[in-house]
């Protein structure tokens, strides 16, 4: 028998929450915020470090207490590369650029860089986050963010 796996875009109330009802600082919840076109990080309630993507333990002070904080999604390009031989599901896009962006709030986030000519990529250039409108077909179907020129 053929099994069909239908992914459903998660409604907001399906965030993974702890006993007290708080949205837990998980990767899954990060991508649920992406479905709302929001780039969210977590702020350590002990030392104030802003962490994105979220982690279960603060890499600065090892606290496990966080609150979610929305990031503006603006930053500058730290480094990049142009992928010519991609993994299977990205073949149709090659060649494409990926890079690491230092967000204005401090965290460093990797991602694809789109809507820009590859020869115009430059370290230090201003980029901003954007979100794909369609859900990927592949497991785990997290909605993808990407970076584009902010000019």
């Amino acid at each position: 028998m053929e099994i069909t796996r239908t992914a459903i875009k998660p409604p907001d109330d399906e965030f993974v929450r702890d006993e007290s009802g708080s949205i837990m600082p998980t990767v899954e919840n990060f991508y649920k915020f992406c479905a709302q076109r929001r780039l969210m990080g977590v702020k350590c309630t002990r030392c104030g470090a802003v962490i994105c993507p979220p982690r279960g333990i603060c890499p600065n002070c090892f606290s496990e207490k966080f609150e979610w904080t929305e990031l503006r999604g603006n930053g500058k390009l730290l480094t990049y590369t142009i992928i010519h031989f991609p993994p299977a599901q990205f073949q149709a896009l090659a060649p494409y650029a990926v890079g690491i962006v230092e967000l204005d709030e401090g965290p460093q986030l990797p991602g694809m860089i789109k809507n820009i000519k590859l020869e115009e990529l430059k370290i230090g250039m201003a980029l901003q986050i954007d979100f794909e409108t369609a859900l990927p077909k592949e497991w785990p179907r997290w909605p993808r963010y990407f970076f584009r020129s902010s000019s």
Binding site: F85, P86, F90, P110
Partner: protein, 273 residues
């Protein structure tokens, strides 16, 4: 590993990286080292020609190793004109996927004496961990794991980089060998490109590196690579390396990294005779 297609191997090797933020966004394993290379080039002025020279040197060495995967010399032009994989890394900047096996007999110095008059001693050993993924690190043009593991291994051996006569390095991509020179202290930060350009890491140079041909030409049978590095140092320190023998090699070193330099191991070896 050679039974898989390029796409298949790309997928499998990517599993050594961060799934939700690297693999999920199309960042291949060569892509991670491509980003290190771009950062190194931007920060220090390292050139694509200098990257190519690592491959050329390792193929020259591999051509003298009857057990190497590639025993054919290549030119800088061959590297520069090869197909881009993850720019600035091209096909000849990347090690091949290789089938292979390696082994060593590890025992105490006393027991070793019963089997051989020419044992090689491990006189320093270090291991370190970093983040799985590249993006959270303070620097993309250095490998903290290699620095930390080298500190431990040099400390245990009571030796330093100037004492090393021959080294096998983890040149999964050409940029990784240049960064390893710097992290092991064979040159200063940012000077790795110049070190290879000046021929200092060739056989006959100040610090011959990857006399086996390295991962680039000897080959990279992933799980067997670390021991194969130790094997080459064993040959060098026991004067059995044939045409690629480094004269009067007394102290050797191996440097191995796992993932995107998420884990690193450095060993220092001395002659036991």
């Amino acid at each position: 590993m050679t039974h898989l297609s390029t796409t298949g191997v790309t997928e499998i090797l990517a599993m050594a990286s961060d799934f939700p933020f690297e693999q999920w966004h199309g960042i291949s394993f060569p892509g991670i080292f491509g980003m290190m290379a771009v950062d190194h080039m931007h920060r220090y002025g390292t050139t694509e020609e200098q990257l190519a020279l690592v491959a050329v040197k390792n193929h020259d060495h591999g051509a003298m190793n009857p057990k190497a995967h590639f025993q054919k010399r290549i030119t800088v032009q061959d590297v520069l004109s090869s197909h881009p994989v993850a720019w600035p890394l091209k096909l000849y900047d990347c090690c091949p996927r290789t089938d292979g096996a390696s082994c060593l007999v590890l025992t105490s110095p006393e027991v070793a004496r019963k089997f051989t008059d020419t044992p090689v001693h491990i006189i320093g050993s270090g291991q370190a961990q970093d983040t799985l993924s590249l993006f959270g690190r303070e620097s993309f043009s250095t490998m903290k794991v290699t620095k930390l593991a080298a500190q431990q291994a040099y400390g245990m051996a009571r030796l330093g980089p100037k004492d090393i006569d021959v080294a096998e390095l983890h040149d999964c991509f050409t940029i990784a060998e240049i960064i390893a020179y710097e992290d092991l202290g064979f040159c200063g930060p940012g000077e790795g490109g110049k070190l290879v350009q000046d021929g200092q890491t060739r056989i006959g140079g100040r610090i011959p590196c990857n006399t086996s041909g390295g991962l680039k030409a000897k080959g990279h049978p992933v799980g067997a690579t670390g021991i194969a590095q130790a094997y080459e140092i064993y040959l060098q320190l026991t004067n059995q390396a044939g045409r690629r023998q480094v004269s009067a090699a007394e102290i050797g070193l191996t440097e191995n990294v796992g993932g995107a330099a998420s884990t690193g191991v450095v060993h220092v070896y001395g002659r036991g005779d």
